[in-house]
């Protein structure tokens, strides 16, 4: 199976994720779309690792997963805090965060 | 959907009750309810604030029966019960109303708990009762005094001897009839056996609620022995109708005493086994200690009696304080707790079983000879052999069976110490052969009021444990 195929999947998923981050207005779903992009990156990393026959790419993928987990923890914390303080949850209306 | 929303009150100027409501007997009731209509503004406010109030709707169903009918209008009052009382939370707290029951494995019957949760913590709980109401008190008014005993027994179905005792005691107070000593001792033996049986069921079901499944079977094994004893002495396992006005129905049969003594030897070992399983069990301790605490003052304000009050440290037991039926003859102790938590309730009940065994042992040892029912032929049926020889006995028998005894007019309230607290029976006689009013003060009914205070602020699992340790019996609550 040519590595190009995997890279193609990775590119498509990345593009979908990018579009989703723009369209989605629910912060939870924005986070979810970010996850998509991160995972597309992961797939590319692992594909390259396979292509070059070195495992550094896999290590990077693991680090990306950790970063994603951290991002999720903080992001979901923000969503819950938002929900506690406001009724409507919509990124476009979150003017307070602009400082 | 929108056409289903209830319409208020109907037309207050609607035609009189008889026309609209159909069944003719409503007309009899109409004057009373209509009388309330004039005097009801404040209660109408309470019940829902509709103009004319629900009681008006009682008398005047809407003339147009095709739409949503009169019965929906009554539900205005339900709205009130859904309100959250004393829910003290922050504004950012999320509340969840959950409806436990009437069909729920842990409500010990058809109790319904309207529970408000914040996460896992109970913020408010409202018991809603009445699903098992069978109108026993009304039924009893339609029966001769001695024929009302079986229905009275069926109220609190785990304390049937106690129900019968309270009722029979009240009627005996009215009749001022002397109960023979042997009958009193037999009553004591059966009452205490019944108390042990009731506590055993409590033990099994409570531990089942905590998740310990085996203790249930062990407790029911001993309960079977007691039920066998009941069957032996009266022919029935439950609702035995053994207590009669003036004594007991029959002397104990031959061999019953030996069976009882075997039980008396066996039972303390069994209680030791329960203690070994539960008393020092870490999980039991964690689940029961410092849970459901209510101070003695609060409990007394709620009118709570029995093991619950004793667990809070008040040594109040009617068997000692106001002994009837020869309880003063026996030497026993009143177990009391210190803190009033669920663990104390458990300890008190288990200790009570041991004390009951002591009483039974003394009673069976000192069981006096003599008649087991009063010699008063106006009250008790004559013995079988007299029927063949004595005309007078035959007349008494006939009068009693067909009409029953006439009880002098008056009122009596006879209270005894039931397994759940003070079990009192109020009987009013109007001089006829049927009681004019029977009302049972059932301990479960009263104790349940304190449940809200016990459960508020606890975890929902502790609420279940507290309910189990409260030991409500829906048969007694709803009557």
């Amino acid at each position: 199976m040519a590595i190009g195929w995997y890279l193609a999947v990775s590119a498509i998923v990345f593009a979908i994720g990018a579009a989703g981050v723009i369209t989605r207005r629910n912060p939870l779903l924005v986070l979810v779309c970010l996850e998509l992009m991160l995972n597309a990156g992961n797939l590319a990393l692992i594909s390259f690792a396979r292509m070059h026959g070195s495992q550094e790419g896999q290590v990077f993928a693991l680090v990306v997963m950790v970063v994603a987990a951290a991002e999720v923890a903080v992001g979901l914390g923000i969503v819950v805090a938002l929900y506690r303080n406001r009724v409507a949850v919509d990124v476009d209306e979150l003017r307070e965060l602009q400082g | 959907m929108s056409d289903e929303t209830p319409k208020p009150g109907g037309d207050p100027a609607a035609p009189a009750a008889g026309e609209a409501a159909g069944p003719s007997h409503r007309e009899q009731d109409a004057p009373a309810t209509a009388g309330e209509r004039q005097a009801a503004p404040d209660i109408a406010d309470l019940l829902g604030g509709e103009p004319g109030g629900p009681l008006t709707a009682v008398a005047d169903p809407p003339a147009d029966q095709s739409g949503p009918s009169a019965y929906r209008v009554q539900e205005q009052s339900i709205d009130f019960s859904a309100q959250l009382r004393q829910v003290a939370t922050r504004d950012d707290a999320e509340l969840l109303t959950i409806n436990m029951g009437p069909h729920h494995p842990a409500t010990h019957g058809v109790l319904r708990l309207l529970t408000t949760l914040e996460g896992e913590v109970v913020r408010d709980v409202k018991p809603i009762v009445g699903y098992l109401h069978t109108g026993i008190e009304k039924t009893a008014e339609d029966k001769a005094y001695w024929k009302a005993i079986p229905v009275i027994e069926r109220m609190d179905y785990l304390a049937y001897y106690f129900n019968a005792m309270a009722y029979v005691g009240a009627v005996e107070d009215l009749l001022e009839v002397e109960v023979p000593k042997r009958a009193q001792y037999l009553r004591v033996i059966h009452l205490e056996l019944n108390r042990i049986m009731s506590h055993l069921v409590w033990l099994g079901t409570t531990m089942l609620d905590l998740g310990a499944i085996s203790i249930f079977w062990y407790a029911f094994r001993e309960r079977e022995t007691i039920l066998d004893l009941f069957e032996y002495s009266s022919g029935q396992r439950m609702h035995t109708r053994y207590f009669q006005i003036g004594g007991v129905a029959e002397d104990i049969p031959a061999g019953w005493e030996q069976s009882l003594r075997r039980f008396l030897v066996e039972m303390p070992k069994r209680i030791d086994q329960y203690d070994a399983m539960l008393k020092r069990n870490e999980i039991v301790l964690r689940r029961l200690r410092h849970v459901g605490v209510l101070s003695a003052e609060q409990l007394q304000a709620w009118g709570v009696t029995g093991p619950l009050l004793r667990a809070a440290g008040v040594p109040w037991d009617l068997r000692k304080a106001m002994p009837s039926s020869s309880y003063e003859d026996f030497d026993f102790q009143i177990p009391v707790g210190t803190e009033g938590d669920n663990y104390d309730r458990y300890l008190v009940r288990v200790a009570e079983m041991r004390q009951s065994l002591r009483i039974i042992e003394q009673a069976i040892d000192g069981l006096p000879e003599g008649p087991w029912i009063t010699e008063d032929r106006k009250v008790a049926l004559p013995p079988r052999h007299e029927l063949a020889t004595s005309m007078e006995a035959l007349i008494h028998h006939f009068k009693l069976v067909t009409e029953g005894m006439r009880v002098p007019a008056g009122e009596a309230y006879h209270a005894i110490e039931g397994p759940r607290g003070e079990l009192g029976c109020f009987v009013r006689s109007d001089g006829s052969s049927k009681p004019a009013r029977v009302h049972v003060r059932d301990p479960s009914f009263v104790n349940l009021q304190a449940f809200g205070d016990m459960a508020r602020g606890e975890y929902i699992a502790d609420m279940i444990a507290t309910l189990a340790c409260l030991d409500p019996l829906l048969g007694g609550i709803d009557r």
Partner: protein, 232 residues
């Protein structure tokens, strides 16, 4: 065999990713992401990264996504903001998506990577095994490893601080009326609803945000608690 697996898992990953972006119900979107991650794990296996694949399932699917589902159920599955994005924004997003796709494709294909149409380099039997990855992590990449774990710690603390309740719940304190008080009682299964006395579903408020419990169907279904629903 590998081709078959790829052509199952690859398109599934793409479709699930599309689902994440397209589905209106956040709950379904999150579930779609779970499906996407599982198919990615399959792709990782095909790329000889078994350890990463299993970690993907264990950590991502098993923990992170459960957290998502939790928060989703907790927030009540509020639908994506009413009306969706403005049309211009939507077209813009399509354009950006396609632009990004084109850029990435050009970047990868145009970079004249030699091995891109090959199966990859020769690798050993234990390529991507836990032992190998662990060795790399603790030798060459020790600093990123430590940094990542520190980041995780900070994130955990931060999340707890963010999501905790501001003040304790004290009995006896007066309760302020919040917007939630007006919304939450509908649909929380009060006795009024039980008898059909109030109609929980229609009306802007209850449609906009479902009760705080999230106990029940997605708000789109709109018939929850509707006891009169079926045949009258």
């Amino acid at each position: 065999m590998n081709e078959v697996l790829f052509f199952i898992a690859g398109p599934l990953a793409v479709i699930a990713a599309l689902g994440v972006v397209v589905l209106r119900n956040p709950f379904y979107a999150v579930l779609s992401l779970v499906a996407h991650l599982l198919s990615l794990a399959a792709l990782f296996l095909l790329l000889y990264a078994p350890f990463v694949a299993v970690v993907q399932v264990m950590v991502y699917v098993g923990a992170v996504m459960v957290l998502y589902v939790f928060v989703n159920a907790y927030v009540g599955g509020a639908t994506d903001a009413t009306g969706g994005p403005a049309p211009t924004l939507r077209w813009l997003s399509y354009a950006i998506g396609i632009g990004v796709l084109a850029t990435v494709v050009v970047a990868t294909l145009g970079s004249s990577l030699k091995a891109i149409d090959s199966d990859g380099a020769k690798i050993g039997a234990d390529f991507g095994s836990p032992g190998q990855i662990g060795e790399l992590l603790l030798t060459r990449f020790l600093l990123p490893f430590e940094a990542a774990s520190f980041l995780l710690l900070v994130a955990a603390v931060g999340a707890v601080v963010l999501a905790r309740r501001r003040r304790g719940v004290l009995p006896g304190e007066d309760r302020m009326i919040a917007a939630l008080d007006l919304l939450a009682p509908t649909g929380t299964g009060s006795m009024r609803e039980g008898v059909g006395a109030v109609n929980p579903v229609p009306g802007a408020l209850s449609a906009h945000i479902t009760p705080s419990t999230g106990a029940g169907s997605p708000p789109a279904s709109g018939t929850r608690g509707d006891i009169d629903g079926e045949d009258d």
